[in-house]
Amino acid sequence: MRRVVITGAGVVSPIGQNLAGYSEAVIAGRSGLRLLAAVPDVGLEPLVVGQVDFDPARHFSRPQAKQLDRVAQFSLVAAREAVRHAGLELNESERDRAGIYWGTGLGGAGTLEEGYIQLYREKTGRIRPLSVVMGMNNAAAAQISLEMGLRGPSQTISNACASSAMAIGEGLRAIRRGDAQVVIVGGAEALLTPSIMRGWQMMGTLARTDPANPERSCKPFAADRSGLVLAEGAVALVLEDEERARHRGAPILAELAGYGSSSDAVHISRPDAAGQVRAMRAALADARLAPTEIGYVNAHGTATEVGDAIETQALHGVFGDSVPPVSSTKAVHGHLMGAAGAVEFLAGILALHLEVLPPTAHLDHPDPACDLDYIAAGARAARGLGAILCNSFAFGGSNAVLVARRYT
């Protein structure tokens, strides 16, 4: 079977708008979350979010920016960095075997919302003609394909919080099958619109604001956790057939060794340990690794009461009493929804590459129901770390798990 390696990464996130910035912040456990003021005329209450201070003018001409939803802008910026990082240059025939597998939950949410505002609030019927091609879920993948001249397979996966993890996994399979030699994978989300944020508020799963330190409001696995924090951003990775990468002397960050997915078939929003166990076991089997070979788990760890406890149970189910160190980096970057799997897998890749485990920030009060080593005291050196596992569990009961291995 072909081996697949990761040769480049790019990121736009609340804790850094490039790889160096993200890497430094995620290891330092420095939060990028902040309190957003209420918007009384639409009933939006104050909430903590992971918002990106993004300046499109730094990356796009004005006409180009106008034709791209925020989600596509994030996507392009992340993809450009990943390609630059990988030193990827494709000739004409290689472009036919270069593809894109991209995840997003809500695609061009901002564009759609603007359309609804014109239709229902302003009652003008003046919806931008470009809203169709800006709002569609595959717009981001299409824009990357267009800009980079990728003419191989293109797929957009929308599976809520598992979207980008699945996109990475499907990209892995595409290279293994021989459908493509190079794929850009990852995902993006830009859903901090009033209607989406209000929907989540009404659902009652968002974190209460920590009054003293709003940026510390997301507390995965802690006894005082109160829910998730919505966030936005994008992460792109360059996956390559190992032989191709080696042949061109590409920098290899890690091997993408395995991918597993499963469905709970239990409940639309409540997670299920058995389903999570199936996905983790499938990913380990795909990677041909034993649980004992995993040295770090980047948890889904949304900081909901039920979610963290069930994931802890599931980890026991897979690893028994020898669960490796686990952290949830959502504490600092929030929940990037469709981009969550990619941004968190990136934390795992960096752990392998830099031999340091990112911490779970804001975990001052352990919860007895969450009894693992969550790396609560700060980043930890991990010399010789051999393999990592990254969990993404979505509403709808879709689970996706990725495994990466040190490349040797």
Partner: protein, 85 residues
């Protein structure tokens, strides 16, 4: 500034081309405005001039001059309607 000059300046700004390089009698494609770009451009001009283009005539508009002439017609019609009402 007349309508033609106004939309020429606007096109220069929207499509990031130099105003002096825009040939107002050249087909849109030739000055870098594709069909989708044109639809969006017209949408913005409608707001700018507070008019609504006649969809049945849109296909006949091939150049910036055609567009300016049609906008002028609509502005005149609008003024006439306002006077008679």
């Amino acid at each position: 500034m007349n309508t033609l000059e106004t939309i020429k300046q606007y096109a220069a700004q929207e499509f990031e081309v130099k105003s002096e390089e825009i040939d107002v009698d050249a087909p849109f494609e030739q000055i870098g405005i594709d069909s989708l770009g044109l639809v969006e451009f017209i949408f913005e001009l409608e707001d700018k001039f507070d008019i609504r283009l006649d969809a049945s005539k849109a296909d006949g508009l091939k150049t910036l001059r055609d567009l300016a002439n049609h906008i002028d017609e609509l502005i005149t019609q609008k003024a006439t309607c306002a006077e008679s009402s």
